[in-house]
Subunit: 212 residues, 4 copies
DNA sequence: TATGAATGAGAATTCATTCAT
DNA sequence: GATGAATGAATTCTCATTCAT
């Protein structure tokens, strides 16, 4: 593909027609399928196109190069995830901190577990690209949402809100990822999640400046 | 995940001569260097060989294929890490649970942070291969060590030791990984770590069956 | 024999466009040329592609691997040869057995001698692959054709048709191959052929059950 | 190996000690085994050495290069075969032509069938090298022996001895080879052989100038 | 003399990308 | 626009041969 450097990672065209959207969706879905079936090594443009039922040429109408495809796929996924988290946070505004943490864990866990293979596939594909910007951007968005949520807690005002927030997010996201990596059985997963909530609440308790 | 064909991943020959051991070490080190400098995409056998100062042919005397190289590299790393954790756990036998957790976090954090670029490089390279077995093996070893440690605690006997142990390990390892992924600045890292210890201790407190 | 792994030997894609058919033909012809010029040892994919005036990549669009190319080349050749023999046999239906044998020797000899270098090249290339299936298939087809022909002879009904047929085919084909291997001069070839016919007729005579 | 051209194909040293002879034998036997197990494509010096229980280095003490090994192997085999045929011919001196032909077929068939896999392996390996000289030399030797035998027949003097002899040899050798290639079952083999003898005798009959 | 580690040219194969139809 | 054949640089991997020990 056009080897201009730095290469634009966004999709070439914004879909205007329904047909284009359908094609894009098919391509994204195909990418995930290939990732799952063949692994990141065998994720080739040809395979994706074939699976998506379009020609390679068509794929190149939508993505200037392969990296752009993977990038956009992850971007899309993180975008949806971020929105979900934002919604969850917004919904908890003004409630008690404990409920907030419960909701956050629930929301994230749920989002990751709905289509576990997809989660797994994307975890692997991210290693393919220079994802620093992507992840940083996602993290910033999430931080903003969770911080705002926590700040609105009716019963809690930690001494260092940012720090506590960062810990919560890092611990929750990291734990979920590790659980995936270890391939924990369903049974163990449930206990882990309860423990995780417990631990988060404990952090809130111990970092509470003064109750409101 | 990836349907890697059942190719043997172990190294082809065990080094018999001193020269061979040196060669092997050079190859491993070179792999890490290339991984750091060029990223997993540009990790080619030629590049590794060149950097290691040997010929490609030599590399293939020791590794049946590229995957085997990456696999063995990770295996080696996890082996060393496991040993370190085992030593740490052994050293804490019989102490109080709180100290144990502190030591575990300290040990793991330290191990990962000593050569952060290496850690990062390996985190990325491991996505290249079918690492289920590798990770499972490492996890089992660590679980054994930490469980034994916790069971020996002078002041603590959780109702469900295995479950608590699993949570602790998952949360600690996951948090560290996520911290790496988010590329947290040194300053924030310190606070995160203190929080993590706090949370782990809290879990121990709340799951204590009866004090000894 | 050789434990060739069960890789599909059929061509990867059937040509759909005229361009593709031309490409395929060029590749086959180039393979024969390289085989003749450089021998089976120097039959490399690069050389074939170059000679065919296409890129290596193109070759790999049509053949999954080098073996498949050689296999298909031989298959094609044997296919044509079988058709020729079948036509010859069909043309002799109902004639006298002696004429049949004459025709068969003539037909086979002719087919092999038209482009002797090609014949020689293929005899050598076939050693490269696990040709059991190929040869068996060809043999079965030929056996069917010659048996049917002999069975229709107006003047002859051997006690054991199958056995006689097998001998005739084996002797004729084997003799021709050996003549090639010994690199017999044109002059000697003529006599050999006459003798061969004589011998085949003699076999018919001596195995005749009863004349019709 | 030393790339002098034309390269000497004979073994580097004539074995003087028992040890050397044993090593040579092991190498030859290993070559055949590898040929059978892995096919001519995978016949590598390393594999042969390993199978023979010697180092590659040692192999290169005996053969200047791989071609020399294969060449010598075939040479050895053809040498033994020629000797056998010569002995057989000598033993038939002065007998009747029919007996001669019977003996020749019997002898050749026997020699090829004793270790059929070896025969098969060598048939394939010959394609690897420029065997014209080798085969020509063998053919000449055999021709001399069989011609001399036939010339001594008590009951037969063909008009054109050379021509008849050539035919006999070509037909017999070719038929046997083809039988191998077709992988004929034991049962069919027996009938084929009887037919072959019949045909050879018929040729003698029909080319007899005058009985002695 | 024997060994087997090292070599590196050369072969097979892959795959992102282009472009004529 | 869409297609898919063609491209060829880049990559993996092989193996005959050498040479220090």
């Amino acid at each position: 593909m056009a080897a201009t450097s730095p290469r634009p990672l966004a999709p070439r065209k914004r879909p205007r027609q329904a047909r284009a959207t359908a094609t894009l969706d098919a391509i994204f879905e195909a990418t995930i399928q290939v990732l799952l079936r063949d692994g990141p090594q065998r994720l080739t443009t040809t395979r994706v196109a074939e699976r998506a039922g379009v020609s390679v040429g068509t794929m190149y109408q939508y993505f200037a190069h392969k990296q752009a495809l993977i990038y956009t796929l992850n971007e899309r996924y993180l975008e949806a995830l971020a929105e979900r988290i934002e919604a969850c946070c917004a919904a908890q505004h003004g409630t008690r901190a404990n409920r907030m943490v419960e909701a956050l864990v629930e929301c994230y866990w749920q989002a990751k577990t709905e289509r576990p293979e997809v989660t797994r596939a994307l975890y692997r594909s991210v290693a393919e690209l220079d994802n620093v910007a992507l992840v940083a951007n996602f993290a910033a968005r999430v931080d903003r949402a969770t911080t705002a949520m926590l700040a609105s807690a009716s019963d809690h005002a930690p001494a260092d809100l940012d720090s506590v927030n960062r810990t919560l997010v890092t611990v929750i996201f990291g734990t979920v990822r590790n659980a995936f990596e270890r391939n924990l059985p369903e049974a163990d997963t449930e206990g882990l999640r309860r423990h995780l909530v417990t631990m988060c609440k404990a952090l809130l308790d111990q970092t509470a400046g003064q109750s409101a």
